[in-house]
């Protein structure tokens, strides 16, 4: 059982999703909710167990079906990938709990779809084969297509048409890139690729470069890098609140792939292909932050504002990927966890606010007050502090670590201003929006809808996790440093590299 631990984060959501579609569990929403919550707890336990095992014993490599490399498909569980898996599982649990209140009544199959979405995300984190990465991207995408349109309505349909079309084009580009890479590298195994990158045939170098750049476009599209980010605000603002919260980690899958592929395979040791994406990541990451700031200031609803803050955080992460030093990676990992949790929290809060404000939804306009102003207002205040990056909550540490990592490089003068101004813009917009949402009220509130216990549990779980990240900041940063080491080393040392 224990040696199969690396595959459990894939098996649990896969089987759970299938079981949730079968008779005993389809009989009623109560069963779906109960089973969904149990399965996501199980997933969380499995990923935490995997994390502990990997932390103590080093990277685990799991050859699916005992087909050894270079022929079989590998799952590679190192500190970085298991950390992302735990984050996904935790997020899934919160989203599952939150959607168990009202969202799962608005359409069918929400719980199984959430499971399949988690399957795709976990798979993308764990796989050690770049074609398999494509397959898991498709798994998470098809689940997200269905989740985005959950509940229906013209706005969601329109956002979904754009999202689906763009991502299908992205998938086609991904396949072109994979074809080029297979043609030049002769392998699709990431560990193998890393070894061969330095010894590419001189005639093929240009081809391999174009393959790497195509991959940059694909991952840029996934992570919402500057010229490819236009789909994000509309999609996230249209999605149901819990779905948007789960999507908070989807852009991070793109950043993660950038680290794995452009940071490691095409990293320092790749000969002529070394650091091929760096000259592009600099300006694009920088522009992503700037565009994100401008869009933040122009946001009209809370969900749109949060979506634009996602773009800002992606831009900061891209800058860290471009830095590609040990410190930068470890700081970015801390910030990545924080920003995922904080944006998910804000999306869930937006869901609660929409529920209680009636027709005005989460638009920044005068309307009737929310039913539980003290509770929601307090939570909003804390979540806003986290998103801005104010001291008592984890955003501060994340941003401070990133700024410190940037200080060591020559580009500090470039990196500091956008990150700091982004905080200022977030401060302005979040205080304005909080004032409008909670204080500019008119008329009586209807006593009809209050936050359901399961919704509050989900929000509280996320809320508590943020201060915990501060309390255990020492442990977490130690861990992220080791994860950054794992990433830097790549997976060559452990897999059967001698076959290459």
């Amino acid at each position: 059982m224990l040696q199969h631990l690396p595959v459990l984060p894939l098996l649990i959501p896969l089987l759970a999703g299938a079981l949730l579609l079968m008779p005993p569990l389809t009989n009623g929403l109560r069963w779906q909710r109960l089973a969904g919550t149990l399965f996501s707890m199980l997933l969380l336990i499995a990923t935490v167990a995997l994390l502990l095992k990997v932390h103590n014993e080093g990277t685990l490599v799991y050859a699916v079906g005992e087909w050894n490399p270079p022929f079989g498909i590998l799952l590679v569980a190192d500190r970085l990938s298991t950390m992302m898996c735990v984050l996904t599982a935790f997020l899934l649990l919160c989203v599952q709990l939150f959607s168990s209140a009202t969202e799962d009544q608005q359409g069918k199959f929400l719980h199984p779809l959430l499971m399949f979405q988690a399957l795709g995300i976990q798979g993308a984190f764990l796989t050690g084969d770049i074609f398999n990465l494509f397959v898991f991207f498709e798994v998470l995408l098809i689940a997200s297509y269905a989740l985005l349109i959950h509940g229906g309505g013209p706005q969601k349909t329109l956002a979904n048409v754009h999202y689906v079309t763009l991502n299908l084009a992205g998938s086609a580009l991904f396949l072109f890139a994979l074809g080029i890479i297979y043609g030049t590298f002769g392998t699709l195994n990431m560990a193998d690729m890393q070894q061969r990158a330095a010894h590419i045939d001189a005639n093929d170098v240009q081809l391999a470069k174009s393959g790497a750049m195509l991959l940059l476009v694909v991952f840029g599209l996934k992570s919402a890098m500057m010229p490819l980010h236009f789909w994000l605000p509309r999609a996230y603002a249209a999605a149901p609140a819990p779905v948007a919260a789960l999507f908070a980690i989807m852009t991070k899958v793109g950043v993660y792939s950038l680290w794995r592929v452009h940071g490691t395979i095409f990293g320092d040791n790749a000969g002529e292909l070394a650091n091929i994406a760096q000259p592009w990541l600099w300006p694009l990451g920088w522009l992503t932050v700037v565009v994100g700031i401008i869009a933040t200031l122009a946001s009209k609803t809370l969900r749109e504002l949060t979506a634009n803050l996602v773009i800002v955080s992606i831009g900061s992460l891209l800058l860290m990927v471009a830095l590609n030093t040990h410190e930068a990676t470890s700081a970015a990992l801390y910030y990545l966890v924080h920003s995922t949790l904080a944006t998910a929290l804000m999306f869930l809060l937006a869901g609660l606010i929409i529920q209680q404000r009636g027709k005005a939804e989460d638009r920044f306009v005068q309307s009737r007050p929310v039913n539980q102003p003290a509770l929601l207002g307090g939570l909003f205040f804390l979540a806003a502090l986290a998103l801005i990056g104010m001291p008592p909550i984890s955003g501060f540490i994340g941003k401070a670590l990133m700024l410190k990592a940037a200080l060591a490089s020559e580009q500090a003068a470039w990196i500091w201003p956008p990150i700091l101004i982004a905080s200022l813009a977030a401060l302005i917009m979040l205080s304005r929006s909080g004032g409008t949402l909670f204080w500019r009220t008119r008329g009586e509130n209807s006593e009809a809808t209050r936050a359901y216990p399961s919704q509050l549990t989900a929000v509280m779980l996320l809320m508590v996790s943020l201060p915990l990240m501060v309390v255990f900041a020492g442990t977490i940063t130690e861990f992220t440093q080791m994860a950054a080491d794992d990433l830097k080393q790549g997976i060559t040392l452990i897999t059967g590299g001698e076959d290459a």
Binding site: I149, P154, L158, T165, A172, L175, F176, G179, Y182
Partner: protein, 138 residues
Amino acid sequence: MEFTFSLCVGVLTSAGIYLMLRAQTFPVILGLTLLSYAVNMFLFASGRLTVNGAAIIGQSEQYADPLPQALVLTAIVIGFAMTAFVLILSLRARSDLGNDQVDGRELPPERTAVEEALADKIEKNKADLNEKHKRNKR
């Protein structure tokens, strides 16, 4: 053979991209389909083109690389599912949004020169009539 093959991929890709840039959903879906055909052929060629080579070792002197064939198979299956989904989605968009434009907004119908002239004339007649009414009232 290489030239024909690359020509096919190139034509399919450019046609696909052209169609994808259209404003209506149906051409866009066709474009995506053409693009996925181009991708499949391209992947197929990534193991280099060989003639008379089975993908099984020992069947012939030269054997073809079997991996691209497996990749193409996977890509075809995924492409199928995605095309089915995007078709249904665009039908849904047609009924939800009331038109088949990708950005959901109906363009104003284009007028020919004759229609333009007629519309102008009608406007002018209306204005004249109004004028007459006013004069009669006085």
